[in-house]
């Protein structure tokens, strides 16, 4: 099946992500970023080099920081189908009939689900989840895997922190947005778009659930927050500043994922 080919593909991708050992290009990228004038071509000389001076969690303007992404096309596709589907849903009834809007939205949402589940998750954060069918007994099982952080050369190919922030941010925002649309449709009693909304909610929630189960350290962080008790969580959040904490949760999770995933074997890790 295609999953065997996937193994080679992923290690290949990990190899390509390794930046050149010199830190010179990264510094120039950083200085150019602050000047705000870098073409997209230098995006491969990015700050996934661990010795770079880029500190994860520092707030950079979003437009400039696209150059830090190791996979700009993946980021683009991650948001492309979702954005188009949302736009069609919002504005479509002005341009075409309701049923065309519905069909178009359904197709776009299905495409987006496939892209996020199979492509961008692997490329941006190194996670994947799928359903495995035992050919003998026909029993199905769900498998959640996360990539081992080291590549075959031995050098560290960490997941890019911008990629990770972007991926998780968009992933979490999508069902929230669609849930808001759903609420407003219920409030205004407009049920003609029920099918689109139902499909959007189901697909986006299932993606969130799948990737949430993949990412063990996200789980650990959320569990820590719950175990500490809501009050202490609130106190910590207020003390650290909410956004700083959330930013730290996304990017600090990376650092922890490298350290945590290396010694212990994730079930079903494909390294």
């Amino acid at each position: 099946m295609m999953h065997e080919n996937d193994l080679e593909f992923v290690t290949e991708v990990d190899g390509k992500v390794i930046p050149p050992p010199s830190s010179q290009p990264t510094n120039s990228v950083l200085s150019n970023m602050k000047a705000g004038g870098v073409a997209g071509g230098s995006s491969l000389n990015n700050s996934s080099d661990p010795t770079s001076s880029y500190t994860p969690g520092s707030s950079l303007p979003l437009g400039a920081s696209f150059n830090q992404s190791a996979h700009p096309t993946a980021c683009l596709f991650h948001i492309l189908f979702k954005g188009i589907a949302f736009t069609v849903y919002m504005l479509g009834s002005k341009a075409m009939e309701g049923i065309m809007v519905t069909v178009l939205c359904i197709l776009l949402l299905a495409a987006d689900f496939w892209v996020v589940k199979n492509v961008t998750g692997r490329l941006l954060v190194g996670l994947r989840w799928w359903n495995k069918v035992d050919p003998v007994s026909g029993a199905t099982s769900w498998i959640f895997e996360s990539a081992a952080p080291t590549s075959p050369d031995g050098t560290n190919a960490t997941t890019n922190s911008f990629d990770s922030k972007f991926f998780w941010g968009v992933l979490y925002i999508t069902p929230i947005l669609w849930a808001l649309c759903f609420m407003s449709a219920i409030l205004w009693l407009r049920f003609n778009c029920f099918v689109t909304l139902a499909i959007a909610l189901v697909l986006s929630f299932s993606n969130v659930y799948g990737y949430y189960k993949c990412s063990a350290d996200q789980r650990a962080k959320l569990n820590d927050m719950f175990n500490a008790g809501a009050e202490m969580g609130m106190r910590t959040m207020i003390r650290n500043g909410v956004f700083g904490r959330l930013g730290g949760m996304f990017s600090g999770g990376n650092a922890q994922q490298q350290g945590a995933a290396a010694p212990q074997v994730q079930p079903g890790t494909f390294a």
């Binding site: 309701g98 069918v133 026909g138 049920f191 029920f194 099918v195």
Partner: protein
């Protein structure tokens, strides 16, 4: 024709061709049923009165997916251990003959063959074809005593879809 056998035999034996198909359908995917559902819904809603297009679309879509889900859950409650997605996949693919008959009816409406009783013939061909494989699939997981209980919703499900096709 296969139905009597399904109801009365101890273990449902799928024929060679059916067994091949069912084995291939073990690698379930929901893309096929999605496209079949979309095409059926589009065909029916194009023939509906203009004010009701979106209602028809929604009805067909909802009936197909919720109906498959209900049939699956019913079979699971009767003791069949099949995965939900696999059953959704098979039931969805089995709607294909009904789609074909809907297309036939829609195309023949504009010709002199477009009479109600001829529509019934196309529809019943599609219905029998659709229920044939799905009843074998569902029946093989359920014990003989409960098989009628598990198969009745399958028939009912395709009957509702056929009735919707006939309406529009």
């Amino acid at each position: 024709f296969g139905y009597v056998g399904v109801l009365q035999e101890e273990n449902v034996e799928a024929s060679e061709g059916q067994r091949n198909v069912l084995n291939q359908l073990r690698d379930w995917d929901l893309w096929g049923p999605l496209f079949i559902c979309l095409s059926l819904a589009i065909i029916l809603s194009l023939r509906a009165p203009t004010k009701q297009t979106s209602h028809v679309f929604t009805t067909v879509f909802v009936v197909m997916w919720i109906g498959s889900l209900v049939v699956t859950i019913n079979a699971q409650l009767l003791g069949a251990n099949m995965s939900i997605f696999q059953s959704l996949c098979v039931l969805g693919y089995c709607v294909f003959p009904l789609t074909v008959s809907a297309l036939t009816i829609a195309l023949l409406r504009v010709t002199w063959l477009g009479m109600l009783w001829l529509d019934l013939i196309w529809l019943s061909i599609g219905f029998l074809w659709a229920t044939r494989v799905s009843s074998v699939f569902v029946g093989q997981f359920v014990k003989k005593e409960r098989r009628l209980l598990a198969l009745y919703p399958v028939f009912f499900f395709y009957l509702i879809l056929g009735w919707l096709i006939l309406l529009f």
